[in-house]
Amino acid sequence: MNDLKRNKAARRDFSSGGFTLVELMVAMTIFLVIGGTAMSLFSQHANLFTTQQGEVGLNMTLRNALQQIQTDAVQAGNGFFIGGATSIANTPVGVTVTNNPGAFDSLTLIQAGTPAVPLSGTGCMYTTSGSATLSAGYGVTASQFSGGEIMFMNYNGNQMTVARLTGATNGAGGTINITYAPTNANGTNSTANDPFGLTLTVPPTSDPDQLTDQFCAASGDYVVALSYVTYSVNATNQLVRTTAATVVTPDIIADNIIGFKVGAATYQGGTTVSSPSYSFNASNAPTATPPGYSNQFTMIRSIRVSLIGRTPKGQFTGSNFRNTYDGGQYRIQALSLVINPRNLSMNDLE
């Protein structure tokens, strides 16, 4: 009996000296199972976090881009309210849109870069000549005609053409001599000499006599330098903002843009003829399917800009997510915004 007790005590002493192999293995197994579960939960959550970061970043990118476009778009048509018979609603100074068949459109926002400066002299001149002289006394110097596009307009604002400016020098007595790429005899241009597309439709269906090449100093016809901002998407999917000063290296507004469409709502004059919806086919006729507005940019009153962006490539290599667009491992977001450039409608409500 005493021996047995001693033996038992000895065994207990021995067993409390450490774990058996079985105990250790069971403990390790339990630890591995619990630890593995915890790790997988953590890695899932870490992935979710990365996805969220990417999406929030993309959302901010798209919002910032739309904000920048809005800031420029509300300025469209600024500085060109001459007064009298001429109103901005009769001129294409405002918004022009190029709708392409694919995912990317381009949007140009135009405003006056100088006051209207009357032609100098007494007779008439032709824009087929490639040069003109502007009157003195309007507070404008040759340096303000530094590049880009100029618009010729007759005194009552119903006939115009545009030309690509090539040079300007200060002439005698404060006049300004300008040179430009000559227009065609009817006031039309090649695309190269009218990058804004202001004379695209020949002749405009709503106003067949709108384009001309003849302007007369005697009747007070004038010239305005145009300044512009163009939004487009380049070959590396960047939304870029181009101005006369940044033609060579445009500002990059957003990366990873895979859709940029610009629709326009138009107003045909009168009181009840605003288009009910936005047209994404600028060159289509109003009767076509889907309807357009024959590039009559003077009729644009409101634009709808839609952007589709994606998160940076390769950000989700750890996940199984594939989008159905091109199978890429990135997330996609879309945002759109309606902008009413107020200058364009200031003459409508009568």
Partner: protein, 179 residues
């Protein structure tokens, strides 16, 4: 004294183990609930910011119309879809499509913008089928004459995220006053 010592050496009682498990469970369930709340509130804020953008987009769209144009004639409802005073928007986060229908003069027009094919406008068509990752929104608006004062009208837009997964439903309402 010696009895307690022996008990301590022989292991935990079932009561102790169960109390420990209970405490652990409460803690774990709390953490899990917190995680799901975080995910839920992130989704909510995403829907809310998109709804706000859609509401201001519609208001800006309605402000472009001439006072005599039919789209801003008094009418509409915030509680039911009224022809000419509601539309539906679907935004896909999968293939990047924005699908939109508008109802004008009783006919719906669908606008589908995708990265592959640009913008496809289909007159007299409804919205395409949704997938599980599509965010769907319903926009209703109401135009009230001579409110808040004679000579002006008030336009109120209500955007409802009809995505069912998020409860309660995300809504966003916004108003403007125009001539």
């Amino acid at each position: 004294m010696s009895r307690r010592k022996r008990n301590a050496n022989s292991g935990f009682t079932i009561l102790e183990v169960m109390v420990a498990i209970l405490v652990l469970t409460i803690g774990l369930v709390g953490t899990a609930a917190l995680m799901s709340t975080t995910v839920n509130s992130t989704a909510r804020s995403h829907l809310m910011s998109t709804a706000a953008l859609l509401a201001s987009e519609k208001l800006e769209d309605l402000s472009r119309f001439n006072v005599n144009d039919s789209p801003v004639a008094p009418g509409g409802s915030l509680v039911a879809n009224t022809t000419n005073y509601f539309d539906n928007v679907q935004i896909s986060v999968d293939n990047g499509a924005i699908n939109e229908t508008t109802t004008t003069n009783g006919a719906s027009t669908s606008y589908v913008q995708t990265p592959t094919s640009g913008m496809v406008v289909t007159p007299n068509a409804g919205l395409p089928a949704t997938s599980s990752d599509t965010l769907t929104f319903n926009r209703r608006w109401i135009v009230t004459n001579n409110t808040p004062t004679t000579g002006v009208r008030t336009v109120t837009v209500l955007v409802t995220a009809t995505t069912q997964a998020i409860k309660p439903q995300v809504t966003f309402q916004m108003s403007m006053v125009r001539p």
